[in-house]
């Protein structure tokens, strides 16, 4: 069955409703290449017939399709600059204000785990000895969370920009794959979070990585997501976005702080007091 414009629109609408990701016409090749393995796995001869089956298909089939389309290949220390900003700008600031407690960082939409583990490796090198940290990784996909929790990566994933000195220091062999050492893994936890709905209750964070997520959202969704993120940041906490993303024009509360060739964002140091409604006597 052909992948007709109507079927593409159906898939795009599904992905938008379930994951808030915008698939514009012209991305047919992406749908085709990402869904081919799902079609094969579920016994559909073509991606078109898989898309057609979605109309009446089970929730699990829809979940498989949404997951296949929202997964991104991740490199270690992706774009590098956010990680130097973390070491050079963010950590000195956060450590000065939060002098004793564990540092708390959220890696939102963490995919297969390269980002939260890259953050952990950065902290292992940069934090004063004995200083504790907690990293929460979240994703929409249960499959990605399972892989993140395992902390296991195949040879091809390991090659994607992980410095060899970090590989031999923070990983051990696990059969044909590599596994993050337990000493680091104990500082990470993972849970499913849908950024497009109300967030589950969580302790506040000093830093949130929300990289290459907003680009998939429409402006209203972007605004709502940034608003939710700000509510789980400590006063003066930091937000890191993807290279092509910004809060500018969407959210006026975050302060844009230029660092190197990029920018990071800071929540207000004092939470604004809610103005009480004045009732007239």
């Amino acid at each position: 069955m052909e992948m007709t414009p109507a079927l593409f629109a159906f898939v795009a609408d599904l992905v938008y409703r379930e994951a808030g990701m915008v698939l514009r016409p012209g991305k047919e090749y992406l749908v085709e290449s990402r869904l081919k393995p799902v079609a094969k796995e579920t016994g559909h001869a073509t991606v078109g017939s898989l898309a057609n089956a979605l109309r009446t298909g089970s929730t699990s089939l829809r979940t498989m399709v949404v997951e296949a389309l929202t997964i991104n290949e991740t490199s270690w220390f992706r774009d590098r600059e956010p990680f130097s900003a973390l070491t050079d700008t963010i950590l000195p600031d956060v450590l000065a204000r939060n002098t004793t407690g564990p540092l708390r960082i959220w890696s939102a939409a963490c995919s297969s785990g390269q980002e939260p583990y890259s953050i952990a490796i950065t902290l292992e090198k940069a934090l004063p000895p004995g200083r504790k940290y907690q990293i929460m990784g979240s994703d929409l996909s249960e499959e990605m969370l399972r892989r993140s929790r395992a902390g296991r990566f195949n040879q091809l994933e390991i090659n994607r920009g992980l410095p060899a000195t970090d590989l031999v220091t923070y990983f051990q062999r696990a059969g044909a794959e590599w596994e993050v050492i337990p000493r680091i893994r104990q500082n990470l936890s993972f849970q499913r979070v849908n950024l497009c709905t109300t967030l589950p209750p969580m302790q506040k964070f000093d830093v949130v990585f929300l990289r290459n997520v907003l680009i998939y959202f429409e402006p209203e969704t972007k605004r709502a997501v940034l608003d939710r993120i700000r509510q789980v940041l400590n006063p003066g906490g930091w937000l890191l976005l993807g290279a092509a993303e910004s809060t500018v024009g969407i959210d006026s509360v975050f302060e844009r702080v230029p660092v190197g060739r990029t920018a990071i964002y800071r929540a207000p140091a004092q939470e604004r007091l809610k103005v009480k409604e004045v009732t007239q006597c």
Partner: protein, 163 residues
């Protein structure tokens, strides 16, 4: 010189073969799939590397003339009818080298890897060896049998790819 092989080496062999094919031999439509068995297939050529040390054995990959020509054609980025016998030996030998090195890393260490050797299957014998596990990769409709052998003498430790 024990050959206590990790329990999961068969699973590891699958993972390794999948990665090698997807990284080096996946040009668009050529996705490799694992075949249930190699019944009815005929292997003309075998490329192998020997492991010597804590583990003693061989990693052997065998396939048909046509399949070996296709491998060379993809790795050398040339038309299949342009590749020479020399190119085929080089490409298949490198395939065995990459598979062998990765397999060595899940076996008892330290062991050394020999240079690859490629020859017609009718001339290849691995006396005194036992097959530990195998995986069959189907690529462009042609089966490739990747097998891990244990034991035997590492007879071709220093031999080079024959012309």
């Amino acid at each position: 010189m024990t050959n206590d092989v990790a329990m999961n080496v068969d699973v590891d062999l699958d993972i390794i073969a999948e990665q090698v094919w997807s990284a080096f031999l996946n040009s668009g439509e050529d996705e490799a799939i694992f075949a249930a068995d190699d019944k009815g297939s005929h292997a003309d050529l075998a490329a192998s590397v020997a492991m010597v040390g804590a583990y003693e054995g061989h990693l052997v990959v065998s396939c048909s003339h046509k399949a070996s020509r296709d491998v060379a054609s993809v790795l050398f980025a040339m038309e299949a009818d342009e590749v020479s016998q020399d190119d085929i030996g080089d490409a298949l030998g490198e395939l065995a080298n990459v598979l062998g090195g990765n397999v060595k890393s899940v076996l008892p260490s330290p062991s050394q890897l020999s240079l690859p050797r490629v020859s017609a299957t009718e001339h290849e014998r691995w006396p005194g060896t036992v097959e530990v596990c195998r995986t069959v990769v189907s690529w462009r409709g042609e089966p490739f049998v990747v097998s891990l052998l244990s034991g035997g003498h590492a007879v071709h430790k220093t031999q080079e790819v024959p012309a």
